[in-house]
């Protein structure tokens, strides 16, 4: 049985590996056709006839880095809302649906002023938790009941998950979306004879989204946060470590949002967000697969050029991360084996130093990398290690991490990592070691081209970060990195004052029994 496994709408955090690996000048280029529609929407086409499918997606150039305090998490919540339907999809009576949505907002306005009062009580210590039903004011409970009734009323007109049903029932698979700090992307694979359905559905939801079930979806996102962050051993600590690392760059808050903000985002804010960040010039459509480019372009123009350009232009992010002046440290006691992570501020996507930093990351990583050889196989202070450059859209970071071997201390692993880095700063990497890493960048370029869907995802990531052309242009730049450049970037960025360190030790009382010593 072919499984129809659909995970959900995850938040992907960009892995540096996704960016790390493109090959030499001689390697295969991805033949991409780029078009710009009359409303400013961009279109990328990759013709490929290996399988009778088309992987279709689009990336909106907006992520949690475009948010502000008080509404963190809105980019991601918005991604969820894009599955709720349109004027014609998801409702049996648009006019009645709209009337109820309006009434719902009126009740919500009253609830918001009550929430404002409850926040005051919380700050005075008169209640513990805004989400605890027993602590709610009688007025708030009454409003909650009224709102619940309006949700029941709306349900009569809701056609549940119709957007998904129309696509899935036509053979679409892998339908999903993700939000990161830098981008929001939506994608699925359709049988190659259903390109027009894809164009109909996707243009319709960009053109006429209706944010039904907004407040229950907010609860869903809260459960997503509990699942990924609150209820995992390290989730909350990593969130705070990240917040500690970024001082001013808009990466310091979690993409899923702070708990207080998720519970406070209003539909009006979502509407404003849509008008600003989902205007056609801020979106790139991408099709990879079994189509004729001329026919596909005509189809896309027919459906997507009906969307007006809109009057707003997405604002640039202006805040730059200041130079870090002193080392920062966090020591966390958690339900985990002792381990540590070190982050340094580096450079964003496309920066001329990013290629040497990616190479440096690979030199340190894997079972034949420097850290494994020194700390796992050599001194034996660690059981696992890792490192890598993460080039994001506005800023970048370099990470090194290790799990401490039983009987050793986190400080030994930390010092071991610094020793490896010092060697790299002082002694040029031998030619064969550098070539090994470059060979892997080149081979990875081929491996990524095995099917429509990974090619689509690679285009989404690169376009979302700033320029899809990097998928063909980064390869030669990796191959050109010299040993001297590796030493230079290590010396320039991986300095003591530029680092932030998280050390985790096992929380007292959760240590496993010592049967190992039996």
């Amino acid at each position: 049985m072919t499984p129809h496994q659909r995970c959900d709408k995850p938040i992907f955090l960009l892995s540096c590996l996704l960016l790390a690996t493109i090959g030499p000048a001689s390697a295969q280029k991805v033949p991409v056709m780029e078009k710009t529609l009359s409303n400013g929407l961009r279109l990328l086409l990759v013709e490929r006839h290996d399988e009778p499918t088309i992987a279709g997606g689009w990336v909106a150039h907006v992520g949690s880095s475009n948010e502000k305090p008080g509404m963190t998490g809105i980019a991601h919540l918005f991604e969820h809302m894009m599955f709720k339907g349109t004027r014609t999809i998801g409702t049996s009576d648009y006019e009645k649906d709209q009337a109820i949505l309006k009434q719902q907002e009126e009740v919500r306005d009253e609830m918001r002023s009550e929430e404002c009062q409850m926040r005051k009580r919380l700050r005075r210590g008169e209640m513990d938790d805004l989400l605890k039903p027993e602590d709610w004011t009688p007025r708030y409970r009454e409003l909650q009941a009224r709102f619940k009734q309006l949700v029941e009323d709306e349900r009569k007109f809701i056609v549940k998950n119709e957007f998904d049903r129309l696509l899935s029932g036509a053979g679409a698979s892998g339908m999903n979306a993700f939000t990161s700090e830098d981008m929001t992307a939506y994608f699925e694979t359709v049988p190659s004879n259903k390109l027009e359905l894809w164009a109909w559905m996707e243009s319709e939801r960009i053109f006429h989204p209706v944010f039904r079930e907004f407040y229950s979806e907010r609860d869903v996102v809260f459960e997503e946060r509990r699942m990924r962050t609150d209820s995992t051993p390290l989730g909350k600590f990593q969130e705070q470590f990240n917040a500690m690392f970024w001082e001013s760059a808009p990466y310091s808050w979690p993409t899923v949002g702070w708990p207080s903000d998720i519970a406070a985002i209003s539909k009006a804010q979502a509407d404003e967000f849509y008008a600003t960040f989902y205007a056609p010039p801020n979106i790139t459509l991408i099709l990879v697969g079994d189509f004729k480019p001329e026919a596909a372009e005509a189809m896309v123009r027919k459906y997507f050029e009906r969307i007006p350009r809109g009057s707003k232009t997405a604002p640039d992010v202006k805040t730059l991360e200041p130079k870090q002046m002193a080392e920062k440290r966090m020591h966390a006691e958690a339900d985990t084996n002792p381990q540590l992570q070190i982050l340094w501020h580096t450079v964003p996507f496309g920066h001329k130093d990013s290629y040497a930093l990616e190479i440096l990351g690979e030199l340190l990583s894997n079972r034949t990398g420097r850290l494994y050889k020194k700390l796992v196989l050599g001194s034996g202070v660690a059981t696992d290690v890792g490192a890598g450059q993460n080039s994001q859209k506005w800023e970048g970071s370099f990470s090194a991490s290790g799990e401490v071997r039983e009987g050793h201390k986190p400080e030994e692993v930390e010092q071991g990592i610094y020793n490896c880095l010092e060697t790299l700063k002082l002694e040029p990497v031998p030619a064969s070691e550098l070539q090994k890493v470059k060979n892997n960048f080149a081979a990875a370029e081929y491996r990524r081209l095995s099917a429509n869907s990974p090619i689509l995802m690679h285009l989404i990531e690169n376009d979302g970060l700033g320029d899809w052309r990097e998928i063909n242009e980064a390869g030669p730049k990796f191959q050109a990195v010299t040993a001297a450049e590796v030493a230079r970037v290590a010396g320039k960025y991986l300095t003591p004052e530029n680092r932030t360190v998280a050390v985790y030790t096992r929380k007292a009382g959760t240590a496993p029994k010592t049967a190992a010593k039996e």
Partner: protein, 506 residues
């Protein structure tokens, strides 16, 4: 604040006016007002015929050979009839350790580090594992290096070194992983759900312990390897940049003159035991979300009801537009992930299961909603729309199973491995017609037959006090949801798997 409100109004206007313009221009640019009005060219697709790619190598293995010249890569996967079910009592973890170390502990001619270094220079990916009922060795590399790669593969398969320092390192890594067994509630849930579904003594649930890992010697690893890694016990799948006849010759050479004989394969044991109905709870006080598995006895994949079961489950909780997702997630916002699965077992029946994660206090309520949906699909016929959406979805997605040569080779090799190709050679050819034949009556019949709530087992892992407290407005008690009794399960010592004392009630 003012600015936001102004924009919201402007947006509403935009939507309305855009709506009118869509209606008026619908005829002009020929855009239908509903997607159902679109018509599509036919898509003719037939799955590749397995027999065309099947080769019996004179040296023993069955191979599937699929040339594909698009990229300069070759992918070789070797499946081994072995598994963790063959772990001797007291040496739980032997199969897993052998599987990992086969490619990570050197060979006769190369130390482990020299081997890793050479593979890394070639940008070749070599890995191996032994899981529940299968072993595998895979190699992916550039086609220019295929001869060197096959040479390495031959050494790994016939003469692994099992270098002592690599054994010790891997054991230490496993022991440290073991220490984290109770750290994440999802790990606890998976382990305890396995115990409830198949019985604590079923082979799948025999957990490695610190003592069992430490008891494993280099001789044990070598003996396990030589017992099962021999040519006629292997199935091979190869795809990529090569000439078919040349590759067959190379594979045949790879398996010729094997230095040891091995043991005859042993059937996978099937003696599962399903737990007594009831609610089972593991207390994990530090989390704010409960993880829930709701279990019922399941089927094997060769069950004649299997296609009806697949459609029924898809409608109930398989897809994003399924009933459980619509109810628990969409309407009530009680979970991010809510789903049901009803996979058919290859060797023994798996289970039907509903899984979700909800904030501690709504765990009982969400479980009661899932139970309502289970009752409803058994009590009432599904709608034609649900039935058709599900069936068309399965049928139209079908070509994706064979989207790449690598996937195709893997499917064929798996069917050979599990014996389905021998018993049902036309399985994929008939896949769509068997799905198309499923009726609404079939769906209801299998729901009644298999979704028998009197057998229901519910497992909840999370904050006990809060989960049992429930949520105001929803008078549901988690501990009373099933007819069976309520049991608090102890956490287990992560290194011995012995039950730890229950924490005293507050």
């Amino acid at each position: 604040m003012k600015k936001i409100q102004t924009t919201a109004c402007a947006l509403t206007l935009l939507l309305c006016s855009a709506g009118f313009s869509l209606k008026t221009t619908a005829q002009d640019n020929g855009i239908a007002d509903r997607p159902e009005k679109l018509s599509f060219p036919p898509l003719n697709y037939e799955p590749p015929a397995q027999a065309r790619f099947r080769v019996t190598l004179p040296t023993g293995p069955i191979a599937y050979v699929l040339p594909d010249r698009e990229l300069p890569l070759v992918n070789i996967a070797i499946y081994v009839k072995t598994g963790e079910y063959l772990d001797p009592a007291g040496q739980e973890g032997l199969a897993d350790l052998t599987g990992y170390l086969l490619t990570h502990s050197g060979t006769k001619s190369k130390s482990a580090d020299a081997l890793e270094e050479r593979l890394a220079f070639l940008a070749a990916h070599l890995s191996s594992a032994v899981s529940g009922s299968q072993g595998s060795v895979t190699l992916n590399l550039l086609s220019k290096d295929v001869d060197e790669g096959l040479g390495i593969l031959r050494e790994v398969l016939t003469a692994p070194r099992f270098q002592a320092d690599k054994i010790e390192l891997r054991k230490q890594q496993l022991l440290q992983d073991m220490q984290q067994r109770n750290d994440d509630s999802s790990g606890i849930e998976g382990r305890e759900a396995g115990f409830l579904a198949y019985g604590e003594h079923f082979w799948e649930n025999r957990q490695p312990t610190a003592a069992s890992i430490q008891s494993i010697t280099p001789a044990d690893l070598a003996a396990f390897h030589q017992a099962w890694f021999y040519p006629s016990n292997l199935i091979v799948a190869v795809n990529g940049d090569f000439d078919r006849a040349e590759m067959i010759g190379k594979l045949n050479a790879l398996f010729s003159g094997w230095p040891f004989a091995g043991k005859p394969p042993v059937a996978v044991p099937t003696n599962t035991v399903f737990a007594a109905p009831g609610v089972y709870l593991v207390n994990k006080p530090e989390v704010n979300q409960g993880r829930v598995s709701m279990l019922l006895p399941g089927v094997r994949r060769d069950n004649p009801d299997y296609f009806a079961v697949a459609v029924m489950n898809d409608i109930l909780g398989g897809g994003f537009n399924s009933r459980i997702v619509n109810r628990v997630r969409g309407e009530e916002g009680l979970a991010y992930d809510a789903h049901s699965t009803f996979a058919g077992g290859t060797y023994y029946p798996l289970t039907f299961s509903v899984g979700f994660q909800s904030k501690s206090r709504t765990v009982g309520y969400a479980a009661s909603l899932a139970m309502e949906e289970i009752r409803r699909i058994a009590a009432e016929p599904v709608s034609d729309q649900e039935l058709n959406t599900s069936k068309h979805g399965f049928i139209d997605r079908f070509p994706r199973a064979f989207a790449t040569k690598g996937q195709t080779a893997a499917i064929f090799a798996q069917d050979e491995f599990t014996g389905r190709y021998a018993t049902h050679p036309d399985y994929w050819k008939n896949y769509r017609s068997r799905l198309a034949a499923v009726t609404g009556a079939d769906v209801q019949r299998v729901a009644r037959k298999y979704l028998t709530l009197d057998k229901l087992v519910i497992l909840a892992v999370g904050n006990k006090e809060e989960m049992l407290l429930g949520q105001p407005g929803h008078p549901v008690k988690l501990q009373e949801l099933t007819g069976g009794k309520f049991t608090e399960l102890p956490l287990r010592d992560p290194l011995t798997m012995r039950p730890l004392p229950l924490s005293p009630a507050k």
